[in-house]
């Protein structure tokens, strides 16, 4: 019994105390960017911002790889690599399973730059490559007070290093980018029409239940007549109740086509750092 109690105490203590070298939330990770280029320090001209954004979007369309730029002021007391590594890990840039994302971080107040490379791109954008890009393309321009040049040439160097054949603007379509059909013909025929029918019935029933819960909720909040009025617009396929969060893969285009949304890729601390 004493042993058991010790275990309990150990469990409780562990749950609170061993947070020491914890990985998540040692600092506040900024929200997942909604554009390919995010400039929180006002370092870039709007022309550069627009053109690099468009370039990175076209690049993702062509190759599937997600490359983004994020400019901030400082990482505060957090070491640069810890800050960018944890942030990249939580943003999930790149596709799930392929982990083919890369992020160019610039910190204007700290005078620091880092390229974070997802697991899947470590082979084509090696640490030595990242280091060379920082040394040759970014740092000299930052020193010359030319952040626009630094970002556009740094990004261009990253893209051509990852995809040597990538020529920019009108990219060739990539075969690997074609999404597989969700349900193949064989599965449907195996499953049978009857199964599809049953699924549909189940779907309708579930939607009815959701509808009645929603109705009850609205009655509770607004009273019956208002609820009835609001429910008129509630078709059974309406899904306005659940907002979709963008990170974590498989999102079905939650927002407009111009925006960036991360695909679920993971990072392992690859890349390089520099300062100017």
């Amino acid at each position: 019994m004493v042993r058991l109690r010790l275990h309990l105490v150990a469990g409780i203590v562990l749950a609170f105390a061993v947070r020491g070298p914890a990985f998540a939330a040692d600092f506040t990770v900024p929200p997942v960017p909604t554009h390919y280029v995010t400039d929180n320090a006002g370092a870039l001209s709007s022309a550069t911002q627009t053109s690099v954004d468009a370039e990175l979007k076209a690049y993702e369309k062509a190759t599937g790889h997600q490359v983004i730029v994020w400019i901030g002021d400082t990482t505060g007391a957090v070491p640069l690599e810890t800050w960018t590594g944890d942030t990249a890990h939580q943003w999930h840039v790149g596709r799930r399973g392929k982990d083919d994302g890369a992020i160019l971080f610039l910190f204007m107040h700290d005078h620091k730059v880092r390229i974070e490379v997802g697991y899947g791109l470590e082979g084509s954008l090696t640490d030595a490559d990242s280091s060379r890009i920082i040394r040759d393309d970014i740092v000299p321009r930052m020193k010359a007070n030319d952040p626009n040049g630094a970002v556009s040439s740094g990004v261009a160097a990253m893209l051509t290093t990852i995809t040597p054949s990538y020529a920019g603007v009108t990219p060739p379509p990539a075969a690997e980018n074609v999404a597989p059909p969700i349900v193949s013909g064989a599965v449907i025929s195996m499953f049978g029409l009857f199964g599809v029918f049953m699924l549909f019935i189940a779907f309708v029933i579930v939607m009815r239940i959701i509808g009645s819960i929603r109705y009850g909720y609205l009655v509770m909040r607004k009273g019956a007549p208002a609820a009835k009025k609001e429910m008129k617009g509630f078709a059974f396929w309406d899904s306005s109740g659940g907002g979709s969060s963008s990170s974590g893969g498989s999102d079905f285009s939650s927002s407009s086509d111009d925006d960036f949304s991360s695909g679920g890729g993971d990072f392992g601390g690859g890349g390089a750092s520099g300062s100017w």
């Binding site: 562990l14 070298p21 090696t126 640490d127 601390g269």
Partner: protein, 204 residues
């Protein structure tokens, strides 16, 4: 009245079934969390191996520099050899054996500090430092150190998830019944400077 006679046994069977389901699901959750720890431990081993693979090239490069202090690269080679002495099987099972874990982590930490001493000494050899070959090596080494810090933190996270589940109710009641399978997973202790990759300065 006769009907009541079988209520007792049925209730007992019911309770046994519920307990079995309970234990089963707790067991499964420990297995799942344990597999996450094993997988992450594999990642840690990978990045350590990656560092070890860079060392022959590094030693060859600094040896080529005129009268480079031999004691520094000899220390690196020695530390690498002592890491290599720990058998792969022991390393693989280290998450279930705190002593082996501590031994392995200490050997790797020693190699890490021998390497950073060597890199510090290179500062005195500007010609060596300026070569393309060395700059590439340095970028690779720094990247690898950063990966090591990163994977170690990830490992501590999954180990903590396992330990928390293991040491809380209800799993704590039976985790010990399965031998060393569900031992508490050891943690990497933060060593001075390990959380931070070596600073890079690209100014000429």
């Amino acid at each position: 009245m006769q009907q009541r006679s079988w209520i007792g046994p049925v209730a007992v069977i019911g309770i046994v079934v519920v307990i079995a389901l309970f234990v089963g699901s707790a067991y499964n959750s420990l297995v799942t969390l344990g597999q996450a720890v094993d997988a992450q431990w594999g990642q840690v081993e990978n990045v350590y191996q990656r560092r070890a693979d860079l060392i022959p090239n590094l030693v060859a490069t600094v040896k080529g520099a005129a009268n480079f202090e031999s004691s520094t690269y000899e220390a690196v080679a020695k530390a690498r050899a002592s890491v290599g002495q720990i058998s792969p099987a022991v390393v693989q099972n280290a998450v279930n054996n705190p002593q082996d874990f501590a031994k392995y982590a200490a050997a790797q930490d020693q190699l890490g500090s021998a390497l950073s001493r060597l890199l510090a000494v290179v500062e005195n050899y500007p010609q060596l430092k300026a070569t393309e070959n060395f700059q590439t090596l340095q970028a690779q080494l720094e990247g690898t150190e950063n990966r090591i810090a990163f994977e170690r933190r990830k490992y501590n996270d999954v180990a903590q998830a396992f330990n928390t589940r293991r040491d809380t109710i209800p799993t704590v009641f039976f985790a010990g019944l399965f031998g060393s399978k569900f031992n508490e997973k050891p943690y990497f202790k933060a060593q001075a400077g390990a959380e931070q990759a070596p600073a890079v300065n690209f100014s000429p």
